[in-house]
Every structure is written in C-alpha cells, then in structure tokens.
Amino acid sequence: MTHSGVSRRDFIRVSVMAGGGLLVACGGGSSGSRPTTPPSNNNGTPPPTPAEEFILGEFMRIGTDNRITVLVGATEIGQGALTAIPMIVAEELDADWSLVSAEQSPVAANFNNPYFQNLLQFTVASSAIRGYFDAQRSVGAAIRQMLINAAAKQWGVNASSLRTEASYVIDDIGGRSASYGELSSAAANESVPSNPPLKDPASYRIIGTSTQRTDATAKTDGSFKYGMDVDIPGMLTALIARPPRFNGQALSVDDNAALAVPGVRSVHTLPGGVAVVADDFWAAQQGRKALQVSWNELLAGRTDSASQRNDYNLRLNLPGLPIRSDGSTLLAQLQASETLSADYYFPFMAHAAMEPLNVVVDYDGSSAEIWTGTQSATLDKIFAGVVLGLLPDQINFHIMPAGGGFGRRGNPLADFVRDACFVAKALQQPVKVIWTREDDMKGGYYRPAASVRVSASLNSADEITAWTHRVVTQDVTASLYVENALDALHDMELPPLAELTDFETGMPYKIDNVLMDAHLTVLPTMPSLWMRSVNKFSDVFAQETFIDELALRVRQNPYAFRRQLLSEKPRHRAVLDAVSQAANWGRSTAGVSQGIAVMGHWNSFIAQVVEVSVSANRELTVHRVVSAVDCGMAVNPDLVIAQVESAVIFALSSVLSGEILLEDGVVQQSNFDDYPVLRMHQTPIIETVIVNSGNSVGGVGEIGVPCVGPALANAIFAATGERIRELPLSRLNFIIA
C-alpha cells in the first residue's frame, strides 16, 4: 500500500514547558483541543508536567533534568511498542538511552499511524514499528538539530562545528559541552528544520541493540497499570448479562433477586444485554447470577458449527471473487497431465488474551473520561462519542497498555467500548465494566472459520503449471483497508479487490498460472474479527502443506523443492536456507520427524522447521521449533526474537487445540478448561535466527504464526504418513503430550 507523503507528519511544534524544558508536538496540530490530564504513568517517575501544559499533540518532553519522555501512539500489547518506538526517536536524537522513558500517548491525530494513512491510531497488522519508523526518526533528528542550533547560538560558533552524543551537545574545538536538559528551553525558540539529515544506519548506536524493555521493572513488581487496574474515586463495577445467542435482546428482566444481593446498586437494560452495577466485582457477579432475563432471539444468530462447515464446503465448488489471477489456470489445467487438489477446514478460534476485556468510563452528562486497553483508540473514541452524544473534544480517552490483544482489542466496531458507554450513560457515575473470562470467551469476534481448497496441475515433466487457491470465510480484513478505497474513489478509480483486502497469501513459488479466489461471506449475527496473523493462519497452512504433498509426489525433498521454486524470491530463499542450516534439516535424531514451511508478509519473511514425534497411541510431542526471520532491520533484536517465540507458542495453542464450537448459535466453550492453551510442559525448545537483510523495517508481531501449523503438519506426515487437512489436531484424536 502507498504511504502518504511527509506533509501530514512533518509539522512539528515546539514550546517551552512551564517548568523549563522542551515540549515537542508533531503532526497535524490540535491547539484548540482541551487540555488532558496526564495519562497513567507506568515507569515510576512522577508526571513532570502540570495538566495545563500537557497539550494534545505533545510528542516528547525533554526535562531540565535531562529526562526524556517519549509518548507512544501505538498501544503496548506486549510487543514492545513502549520500548522500540522510543529507541527510534532516541537514535536520531542522539539521546542517552538510560534517561529515556515512554508513556502511551493521548488519542490525537498527531499520533496516528502513518501506515494507516495517518488516519488512525490502530495497533494491528504488525504495523507499529514499520508504520512509525520514518516519522519517529524525523522528529528525533529535528529536535537534535534544534538543540545543536541553540548551543551554537549560546557559544557563538557555527552549528556545523558541533556534535552530539548521549544527550549532550559537544564543542570539541572550544572544549565544552551542554546537556540537552540545559539547552532545552533555548532550543524551543529555534526554528524547526524542515529536512533534518538522518543518520546512516551504519552509525546507529541504539537501533539494532537488544536494550531492556522500558516496562520490564513495572511488569515484575506488580506496579504496571492495565485497564483492569484503573481505580477512580466513586467508581462502581458492572458486569453485563449478555444473550446466549449473538444479537439477542432482553425481552423482560426480573431484577428483584439481583437487587437483593448486598452491594448491588442498580440494573440497566442496554441494547446488547443487561448491566448489573455494584460496589465491587464480587457483588456484581453474585447479582448477575441472580438476575432473571428472558431474551428475544427472533433475530439472533443460529450459527451451528457442523452445518456451517457443510455450507462452506459446498461453496468451495463455486467460483469466488478473484483475488489474484496470473496467466490462465483454466488453460493450464486442461493441458495438465495431472491435477491434484485438497480441501481444508479451520474452525472459529478465540483470542483469549490474559487480561479479559474491561473499560472504565466516567461520564457526567456533558463530558467523559475513558480508560481501556485498546488497539483501536481512534475508532473507539468516535463510537464513544456517538453513544454518549459527545464531541471528540468532550472525551478524554486514555489508552491503557493491554494484557494482550491479538486483534481482539482492535475491533473497528468498538463493541466493548460501546457497551461500557451505554452503562455509563445510564448510570452517570464512574464505572468499570469488567468482562469475566467466560464473557470474553463467549463474546464473539473470533478468528473466522474458513474452508480452503488448493489445487495444483502438473505437466508431463512433473512441473507445476497451475495453482489455485479458493477460500470461503468471513471478510474481516477488508475494512482495514477502507482508507485505501476512499483514497482511490477520490481519484475516481475503483481498486481491484486484492488491494482492498489483505487476503493474498503472497504464494511465492514460480508457477505461471495462479488463481486465488474467495467467498467473503458477511454474517452480522456471527461476529468475527482478525486474530494474530489473520487469514495467513489458514491460507498458508493449506498452501504450505499442499506444496509438501507436491514435493513428495515428484519425489523431491520438501526443502529442495521449495528452494528451486523460489529462484526469483531471494528473501524467501535466504530464510529457507538459514532455517535449514540452523535446524540441521534432514538430520534429525532417531524417532524425531521434521517439517518445514516458508512465507513472506507484513514486509517480513520467515521459514520454520518443526520437530515432532508421534507415539503409537497418537501422543504428539513437539520437540523443537526453529525459525529464521528476515524483518529487514531489527530495531531491537531481542524483541524480535521474543515476538517469534511468542508467535510459535500462540500458533501451537491454535493448531493443537484452538476451537470455538457453536451449537444452534450458542458458544460451547467458556474458560481455559474447555478452551485449552499451551502450557509450560507442552512448550518445545524454540530457536530463532535473525537474517539481517538490511531492507526496510518489516512487521514481526504476526510473521511467526502461520508457518508453525503447516511445518508441524508436514512433520506429522513424515512421522505417520497421515495428511492433516483440518484443525485443531486434538479433533483428530491426537493426544497433546
């Protein structure tokens, strides 16, 4: 996708803070906005700025004490946004990293992610680092130049004779130096350079190092504050009784028993359920248990996993909307000596982040303050305004770092923020709406189920001449790219579907005739949403297990077969070679089988080898997962490795046992007993190699997920001769050791 030019992000405003120091604002400006209170501070330092100084649009503070605070527009969901984004700024600023800390930014246009055309704060699509990278560098470089200019003026020397190092401007000739803190007030009066020179990556001192996470201390002593921990005076707690089937409505409510529970204050019927408001969580939970609601389910969802699967499988026989079309698959199929095909099925899956959803709203009838761990703050704030009848200026929205997101906290429909606002609107008192684990598990917005059919045609020389890939699923990625559509419509062009969705798998193999098509169903009564690695989880599974079948069909080693088909894809080939070497491909120990898979997306590339053994009674032990990842340049290599480790374990949870089943519209799973996720004793050895290609920065939050499943399935085939065509493996009577 194209990124907007610098015009939207190169407007930097600077002013002197009341207590001295430099305050930098970057972006589109918003001087008319009302002041906000400082966001929660998670690094143990007191907020240094009085509320009236903390204007929207502030990007960074340089205190007279030399401390630098970078405000981060992307949400910290575990990926390290509060570490890596400040590293980028600090690099160009030549800051002393030990004095840099980070906070979540307010919700303001200045913090919108350039990846999303500067329209949204949206922490999805592995876009935080690659989205903000260039803009953060420019800001750091501009401020550095202003500090130099201020020193040059003070010392009466030419700015070009000065250099910077670790938060000091240094005059080697004059034998003097001044700290950024000392210079910050004067620097604020310097004009903002429009095109500050950026460093040569070869001279980076901070980018490319494995610094400790800025949030490591607060995340080990219990002091780190999540949305769940927000506590404001007079705050009540609400739980919402939701209908057993999606889109049900409360028909009648008997709240006598609920109101009789000590601590329960009130009961409110909302569009999506019935809220029980109490003094604390326990009373709210007891009250909700005592509540009697009969539900109107005339328009409610009746999705049934078994019949939905049949329906999807039938539709695999019909052509869908083309997403990619190279050459003529039809012609190639007619001329082929053989066409092979396989069908796959993937169920709904829940994100199950460790921190259940929660929102605090303080609404007084004319303004509101909202705190929540969200990946989609801009849209959440818009929906909150709609529900509460407030203008954006009347809402102070605090992005809280989240206890995991995986896409669930990035709902463009803002489901959890909307229903919390409905409670607050009825209550007009501060309230924390908490989802129990069961609410979170049953609350919908799952990874959508998918059926996939892949086919390949071979000629008489056993070369693949055609490849088709058809998917039936719900469309949840298209809205991600809606801004592209708007831009394109503005230019009176209608872009092809492939550019509006993120469905393309990037099937990398050298095959002349390729057709990928999709049935993107819309099911308003079966809420689904992206989940870490989106459709790549299912589509790459099909692609990478099927290519393995073809390798064996033509009697080739799965690694060598892929390598030969990647002759025009050097970055795929490089990670494939790297993982083959790191995993000692083809030379596993006795009783251990290997499988391999490769892909590229999010501007990154990965190849993974999984080693497994399967006992006679189908007990499955995953011994080792080796990954080679090329994310262009690793801003913080240890964070990249951590993201791959995280992705491997996340993928194994999904592949081994991830399954949400519905019976007549009712979700059957409720907690970690019937929706098991990977635990310590099931965790394999995980080894990760970074292939530094020196390319532009790619995303790493999701790239480690999709290949784990197919590499594991290919290893299971090597061990047992059994092809895996559906997930999870627990459904195929494997026992997860």
Partner: protein
Amino acid sequence: MLTIQVNGVSHTVDAPEDKPLLWVLRENLKLTGSKYGCGQALCGACTVHIDGQPTRACVMPVGAVGNKAVRTVEDIRNEHIGSLVQDAWRALNVPQCGYCQSGQIMAATALLKSNSAPSDQDIDRAMSGNICRCGTYPRIRKAIHKIASEQL
C-alpha cells in the same frame, strides 16, 4: 469486618467471607499486582503466597484465610529469592504484555524456595498451572535455571 495479614501488615476489611481473596486484595486493599484472569484457578494470574504456599487467590474465600500470612507480588522483593526472580525476569526480558507475570513470579519464587536446583520436569510441574498467552515460557524456564545455577 475481617482481619487478614497481607505483606506483613494486619488489615481490617469490610467484605463478605465468601468474597475471593483476589478481589479483597485488588479492591479493598488496592493491591492490583495480583491479576484476574479466569476466576476458576485455571490460569494462575492471581497466584499469591499463603504461609509461603502458592495459592490461587481468585477461588480462595477471604474468610478462609484466617491468620495466615498472605504475600503478594508487591512485597516479594523482600524475600531474597523473590528479588532474585524479579532481577532475572528483568535481565532476560521475560515479560511481554506482563499480565500473567505477577503469578508467574510468585509461582517461580515458591518453586525455588522449595527446590534450589529444579529440573525441567520440576519446572513443568510447578509452572504449568500458570498460563502465558504471550508465550514467555522459554524465558521463564531459562530465568529459573539461571537463578538456580548462578545464585542458589
């Protein structure tokens, strides 16, 4: 009114006896380091020590705690092994989202207090009740081994 001993301090709280200890800690005592994750003793995010034993506070009625000493993550630095665990967690960049880590740290501290040289199987047994959706398990294992081999 109930009296409980938390982090070496006696607290009198106004809470029904069946209110889970987790919510007394979080709401009555404002000790929010212990987390709500599942409410069913399935995930371990709420793990605290009661008389040194790792306990799931989300299913422990506060009335059943009696005079036993409750210790939470906020105070674990005051135990030698607790502080070693926190230091190792930081050194190895263990936390990602961090939400489960209070429980992981309490479970790991209890393990190392009872076993100064845990095997991988010992770690599996002691730590498999604590779920981490970010997948920090390999680093947790490494951190426990590091403390055992270098400091105990």
